[in-house]
Amino acid sequence: MRPMAQIAMVMNLDKCIGCHTCSVTCKQAWTNRRGMEYVWFNNVETRPGQGYPRRYEDQEKWRGGWELNRRGALTLKAGGRFRKLAGIFSNPRLPEIKDYYEPWTYEYRNLTDAPLGDDYPVARPVSSITGEPMKIEWSSNWDDNLGGAPAYGDLDPMVERLRQEASDKVRFAYEQTFMFYLPRICEHCLNPSCVASCPSGAMYKRAEDGIVLVDQDHCRGWRMCVTGCPYKKVYFNHATGKAEKCTLCYPRIEVGLPTVCSETCVGRLRYLGVLLYDADKVTAAASVPDDKDLYEAQLGVFLDPDDPKVLRACEDAGIPREWTEAARRSPVHALVSRYRVALPLHPEYRTMPMVWYIPPLSPVVDALSATGHDGEDAGNLFGAIDTLRIPLEYLAEMFTAGDTGPVRASLEKLAAMRSHMRALNLGETPDPETASAAGMRPADIEALYRLLAIAKYEERYVIPTAAVGDARRLEESAVPAGCSLDHPGGPGMGGDGPFGRDSGRRRLPLVSVENFHLLRRRQTSDDAEEA
């Protein structure tokens, strides 16, 4: 066993209202620069839809991720080492900017500087790439809220695949269709194909927290990572000629703060926490022959932080106690392994992604209520899951490589939770059958409810600081080592000196009274005892 720690994320799609606040705040924090105009480290897609970049899930075209070769060993889908080096002079599988969208700005100056005339001045769109006036034909969210779905919906690679299997499941006619939002960031995979694709060795996975980063000083702009990532979450900065990607806001994570996208999420649907996993098992799990076994295989890689054997191994591996402690309280561990309601995005790419999703149930309840049935009755709900407007098969294509079993199990747990909690809220005795039908105990259901519905800030984000042993020094390092008034002749010197008033006495060390975590606990706790 070789335990390692990973900061992972879970998103509860039931709660995503598609407001794009995460995308905008991320853009403002990280990619509001020249060369990165077209880049969204975080984007929110309407599904069904083509996604960003267009049809990125079509791996027959883009060749991202891993596949098994004839001998059953894991190889890069875009070709191994020799093929990469032989083809290094151009990369035929590289998406062009137009596959994302051509970024533009407007000629705002014309509004004030246009000469006096009969016509009202307008601000024409101007391409940020060519500098020429352009016609806006696509953007990162062109098919938001199913815009154009009757005409373009079939271009969704997942819909395309479903059409071959169950053609009547997906409808784009108004009042027959369905949609949900899918916020996406870098998956910070356990088996990252972008890192494996980088010829320069500039991309790396941090051993302490599993964050995948690009070393900007060593990147030489070979662009293989862009192709290697099946989620197309590594981008090429066309101004600097280097690759850039989501950093999981590591400067924030290191001091125990959630990422910008999580912090600003209006729906409070993101969860951040530590997962412990066995690094020795990753390759074997990523190479199981059947795509549909990949979800279970990945669950098998994770370690149980309550197991004393695991804790001892973590200690031997040098994982700090604060981290194993955080892993026990981790909401991600609870949702992924304990309750098994969260599912990975496209496990069939074999990268072992670490941003997981709770599939959406909400439209079912509304649809059931609209037909005059009791939308929160467990029996009705369970029956309705198979006839969801969002077809189970579609969700399964996204989260379990087409296996509807885990998706149904997850949705049943969510349905049981609704039914159980409604009974509690109405003062009825909840039927224990409801819980057990979904394979849970009432206590589990209430804990899951607390995590998903109450969703306290401290329970959503359990992030240990980067350097526990050095945490105090880190916090103090913001304070200058000496007093800023202590320069020669400054007011702090006020007569002190070898023969002055405090002569021979040592100054007290400067320590801030309240450290960062105390302050945050005080500001965010609900009652006085907690603080």
Binding site: L85, T130, P192, F236, A467, R473
Partner: protein, 240 residues
């Protein structure tokens, strides 16, 4: 003039190359990239770039053989002067044609595709001029001396080039060389000097180590580098 061109210029070029590489590695690692324009335009580049790069690699190999393999070595392998000439003529011309076609298509693409042209710097233009100049001059020099066994540069230019590395440059050997070959050599030396100061520097980061490293790279935090980066000289806080 002879000493200046054939005794001093080669060393100046070499010094500029080495110093430039060291300087670039120490102070401009961030700028050390291919500066690819493929995200703007992919279709032409997918043809032109491999053609050019493979062409220029053959050209490089040809120059290394031509300049640094003495006549006596090839003769011990039983390759006589005429056979060598034919090999160098046809092989060299094929590589040259590949290279010229590739670079021509690349320049055409750069000029006609608006986003690519907009991303072209003055440095790039100078680089293209030198590169094209060197390649075209070399081709012309070779193709204007095809009679008989061609111009025998292996008894003049090659010994001179080898002499440079033994620190005994025989500049006299270069006086009788045809003007076209001389011009090609001068432009080539300027190009070599220019490499580290242009985007051509990416040739020195050919990622051969990719063949030998494990696929997934892990990095651990440097325990000595926790907290903020130490202040660099000249950037200290005031009043500290």
């Amino acid at each position: 003039m002879t000493v200046l061109l054939w005794g001093a210029l080669p060393y100046v070029a070499l010094a500029l190359l080495v110093a430039g590489l060291v300087w670039r590695y120490r102070y401009d690692k961030y700028g050390w990239t291919t500066r690819s324009s493929q995200v703007y335009e992919s279709r032409l580049l997918n043809i032109a770039s491999p053609v050019f790069h493979y062409g220029i690699l053959f050209v490089l190999a040809g120059h290394l053989v031509g300049l640094f393999v003495p006549v006596s070595w090839t003769e011990t392998f039983g390759v006589d002067e005429h056979a060598y000439h034919l090999m160098s003529l046809y092989g060299g011309t094929a590589a040259g044609v590949l290279t010229v076609a590739g670079v021509g298509l690349l320049v055409y693409r750069r000029r006609t595709r608006a986003p690519v042209f907009r991303a072209t710097t003055a440095n790039d233009k100078a680089m293209y001029l030198l590169l094209l100049g060197a390649i075209v001059l070399g081709m012309v020099a070779k193709l204007t001396h095809t009679g008989g066994n061609g111009y025998d540069y292996r008894s003049t230019i090659a010994p001179w080039a080898r002499g440079l590395f033994t620190l005994r440059p025989e500049t006299g050997l270069m006086t009788g060389v045809p003007v076209l070959y001389q011009a090609h050599a001068v432009v080539g030396m300027v190009l070599i000097a220019f490499v580290p100061y242009s985007r051509l520097v990416h040739m020195f980061s050919a990622p051969v180590q990719y063949l030998f490293r494990p696929y997934v790279v892990y990095r651990t935090r440097d325990p000595r580098r926790l907290g903020p980066r130490p202040e660099r000289r000249g950037w200290e806080r005031l009043g500290g």
